[in-house]
């Protein structure tokens, strides 16, 4: 009956997903529903002289046409305030629902057409005449801050959103780099990525005039956050009049965290026309307008002493935030990024300096890893590059610099130079296991042999750490977050003993309905079938901060545990009454309370029934067995691990083939190993995608030239070997389940491992570095120049 924790139980939700029974927003059809299509800017930067909508309005089936002038006062906010180094507030321009005055990136919403059918809306959209005056555009974050660069927002000089620094005083870091025995320096671009969730964004707004209430169906990762942002900061609606529902969502990877202009627009317009409105993005719109990831231009330097010990780490990055500030965009290159600059190493001096810039590109925000992959790439790529330059084995170089093991209980957490305190870690353990899995000594012999035969084999390492379980509200609040980052859970025991769990976290591929039910059933000692997990509806779930930053189990799961504690505590009082014993004399196991040392017991279901039919009941105790909790974590969690890639490079074509990929991760305790492994696999695939294939490019006029799956290379199954994975377990010391989070680890750890493997294969040919994505063309050019 119990012991579900640790079992690879097949996911309950998969039956509906793989048999077409999932309920996605676009599947919903409401009576009298209308459809919306956008006219989007074809220019990256253009003055809008005039908009003629007459022909569109006259088109059959058209219900309404709106431009920026109709809803120009509404703008979506940024959720995280980062200040300039001098304390000034960051530059935060209005992000209008429809462009006002100027269009600032290709794909920006300019006109909204609402019609009886989608086809009518699209046909009418083609009849809208917009008189644009094209202006020069800028797309590169470094070019944007040069004198004379085109100004994205007329009132924001030099396109600077803010400048930011974290770590030790710059003079000390500079002096240490200057005095270092060896300095490894890399200049690179961490390229822009398109998230490409399989389900495009979809929204339906339904205003009900009879009760003056709105319902928004949305493909979001955090329905309550969308409701809060939209009601309080965009449309000025009272939250109790707005219900946000997010049923099944087909992948997010961060891109569905944010409050998008289209969500607020359909909600506003639904009241204007008094009918439901649906908008579903097509794939081209998704490429243009789903918030992108990464896009930093970076110079990173690491100084070493003559024993290979890191003496200092110094970085300057220009981070591209796009034309407007998306919800968490400002946190990505700062507090989700610079705070990870310690890596797994004892680096004594660190300075991370970032300038965030506006450009005429789609907004950039958190994408699987959010700032941490960028930091991990620079640290880990520097480590392998430094090892090659200093002729030290990359494994040895890491071992010299690792923070020694600490469990956070018997040894204190590790205080970094960049604000965080790591909870627990044993970095040697995952590295040693991964080396064992790969057969490192044998590989080096094989590599030497292969080179003699004219073959290029390489191995690359990444010993990453990340910060998950975002996060203590007081900490993130002090860093500029405009929301708390706790989680809520409501556990309702039904009279007959079955259990409904209402969680504020949201599952969009993570399998919460299974893994949550596993630990709830174990904690209560009841069958998993008796536990139902409910999420994604603001009318059912009291509140929630949603799912991102690998936080669901660590934060949301902990909130559930708090409610379960309260249920067992109250249940014990009822059980004690029924068993005529003292609470202290009871023990709870396998779904029943037993008087210690006797065979007198009462089952969970009998206690719950008593709670709802309280005829024979403890005096003064309220009926019912139903508890809500909010859990605010004490710290982030810090999963870590070792990823190793082995690649072979074709000498004639430059094609990189990933031969093996080994991942030994430590994500703390594991509820469902299969789900964790699936998360690692998916993350690794995305991380390898960045290393070898993916990249959003804009041309010099700001036109996106990678706007389809023919131009944007998504990884496919045949790009990968079968991943070899294993785990070590260092429990999180500060949450009840001891879990750390596994959603982003794969994407964070894998990218530098692959890039390092490529360099290991070809650096002996005199090649210093190759920019990502490491395509055949780039490798071939490097080998032939």
């Amino acid at each position: 009956m119990s012991n579900y924790i640790g079992q690879s139980i097949k996911r309950r939700e998969d039956d509906r997903f793989i048999t077409g029974k999932g309920k996605y927003t676009d599947d919903i059809v409401l009576p009298k529903m209308t459809h919306l299509a956008f006219v989007r800017s074809p220019y990256a930067h253009a003055k809008i002289n005039s908009i003629d909508t007459k022909a569109a309005l006259a088109h059959p089936g058209v219900v309404a046409v709106y431009t920026g002038e109709d809803c120009g006062n509404f703008g979506v906010p940024c959720g995280w305030q980062v200040n300039f180094k001098n304390g000034d507030t960051m530059k935060e321009p209005t992000h209008p629902l429809l462009a006002v005055g100027k269009a600032k990136h290709v794909g920006e919403n300019v006109v909204a057409i609402i019609a009886e059918t989608l086809q009518d809306a699209r046909d009418a959209a083609e009849l809208v005449e917009v008189d644009y005056e094209e202006l020069p555009a800028v797309t590169n974050p470094n070019a944007a801050i040069q004198p004379g660069a085109p100004q994205v927002h007329d009132d924001i000089p030099n396109n600077v959103v803010f400048d930011f620094a974290l770590g030790n005083p710059k003079e000390e870091v500079d002096a240490a780099i200057d005095g270092a025995n060896h300095v490894t320096k890399l200049d690179f671009k961490n390229q822009r990525l398109a998230p490409n969730a399989i389900e495009p964004r979809s929204y339906i707004a339904d205003y009900d005039v009879t009760v003056d209430k709105y319902t928004l169906y949305t493909s979001t990762q955090n329905p309550h956050l969308i409701r809060l942002l939209m009601c309080a900061f965009v449309l000025g609606l009272p939250e109790h009049k707005v219900r946000v529902i997010s049923h099944d969502v087909g992948g997010g990877f961060g891109s569905k965290i944010y409050h998008y202009t289209e969500e607020a627009l359909v909600t506003w317009a639904s009241k204007q026309i008094g009918r439901p409105i649906k908008w579903t993005s097509d794939r081209s719109e998704a490429f243009l307008t789903d918030a992108h990831g990464r896009d930093y231009v970076t110079t990173a330097e690491m100084g070493f002493d003559n024993n290979g010990k890191i003496v200092a780490f110094r970085v300057h990055s220009d981070a591209n935030l796009g034309a407007y500030l998306s919800t968490f965009s400002t946190a990505c290159p700062t507090y989700l990024h610079a705070t990870l600059a310690q890596g797994c190493y004892t680096t004594p001096l660190i300075n991370i300096d970032v300038t965030a810039t506006f450009t005429n590109t789609n907004p950039v925000d958190a994408y699987r890893g959010a700032g941490r992959p960028e930091m991990t790439y620079m640290i880990e790529h520097l480590m392998d590059t430094a090892a090659l330059e200093m002729k030290i084995d990359p494994v040895e170089l890491r071992k010299i610099n690792f923070i020694p093991a600490f469990d956070g209980v018997n040894q204190p957490g590790y205080q970094t130079q960049v604000a965080l305190q790591y909870d627990s870690g044993d970095y040697h353990a995952t590295l040693d296991r991964a080396l064992e899995m790969v057969g490192y000594d044998q590989f080096r012999k094989d590599q030497e042999e292969a080179r003699k035969n004219g073959k290029l084999l390489g191995i690359g390492f990444s010993t990453y750490i990340e910060a998950c379980g975002i996060a203590p509200s007081a900490v993130v609040g002090s860093l500029g977050a405009r929301a708390g980052l706790y989680e809520s859970a409501h556990v309702r025991v039904q009279p007959t003993g079955s259990v409904s769990v209402f969680t504020g976290s949201h599952s969009h591929g993570q399998g919460h309905e299974t893994s949550y039910a596993q630990f709830v059933a174990d904690t209560l000692g009841i069958p998993m079938e008796n536990v139902d997990i409910i999420h994604g509806d603001t009318n059912e779930v009291a509140f929630g901060m949603g799912t991102y930053g690998s936080r669901s189990l660590a934060v949301g799961g902990s909130a559930i545990m708090k409610s379960l504690d309260k249920i067992l505590e109250k249940g014990a009082k009822i059980a004690a009454h029924k068993l005529e014993a003292a609470v202290e004399d009871l023990e709870y196991a396998e779904g029943k309370w037993t008087v210690k040392g006797t065979d007198k017991s009462i089952a969970f279901g009998d206690v719950s029934l008593t709670a709802y039919v309280p005829h024979d009941y403890p005096e003064g105790l309220e009926p019912g067995l139903d508890f809500s909790s909010f859990y605010d974590p004490a710290n982030f969690t810090y999963p870590f691990g070792t990823h190793i890639a082995i690649v072979e490079i074709d000498k004639d074509t430059g094609k990189v083939t990933l031969k093996r990929f080994i991942a030994c991760d430590d994500v703390g305790n594991v509820i469902n190993p299969m789900i964790v492994e699936g998360q690692i696999h998916g993350g690794v695939a995305q991380g390898v995608g960045q290393a070898l294939l993916e990249g959003v490019d804009y041309d010099e006029n700001g036109q996106m030239i990678t706007g389809s799956f023919m131009d944007y290379a998504m990884p496919r199954a045949d790009d990968f070997p079968f991943f070899e994975t294993d785990r070590k377990v260092t429990p999180c010391p500060h949450n009840p389940l001891g879990v750390k989070g596994a959603g982003e680890a794969g994407a964070i750890g894998s990218t530098p491992a692959v890039a390092n493997a490529v360099m290991d294969a070809i650096s002996h040919l005199g090649i210093k570095d190759i920019q990502m994505p490491i395509t055949s063309e780039r490798v071939w050019k490097a080998m032939n120049s």
Binding site: Y43, V106, E126, S284, L288, D699, Q703, I705, D711
Partner: protein, 148 residues
Amino acid sequence: MIIKGKYPIVASTEDVWDHLMNPEVLSRITPGISELQPLGGDKYLAISKIKIGPVSGSFEGELELKDMKINTHATIVINQKSKIGNVSAEIKMQLNTIDDITEIEYNGEAKLTGKLAMMGQRIIGGVVSTLSKQFFKTLNDEMNITKS
């Protein structure tokens, strides 16, 4: 996108110039162009159908000739609109006389927007080069057939 190249035509510079400045000839030999209506002066309304990779569309817009020096050089300014995106280009054309051959040298830049830019840009360089060659080959053939 830079558009640049040279093509030798076996004809006199005067003949080549006359052909290039004749809208009737141009609309016949330019790939994709179905109509070239004079709008007065050196402006024309151009209507064309072009298919590039996965995108195809009907284009309509102005074509203007400027900075003209007879038998020597001209600049073609094109602004074409379509439902799949817009094309604007400015291309300088220079005629060089080399013995009995006229070399047409062209150099300019084209800008694309919309789906055309998103989905066609990576292959359009090759397409433009192919279309240019096709244009000049047809011009060369036409002139040499006319002569004989």
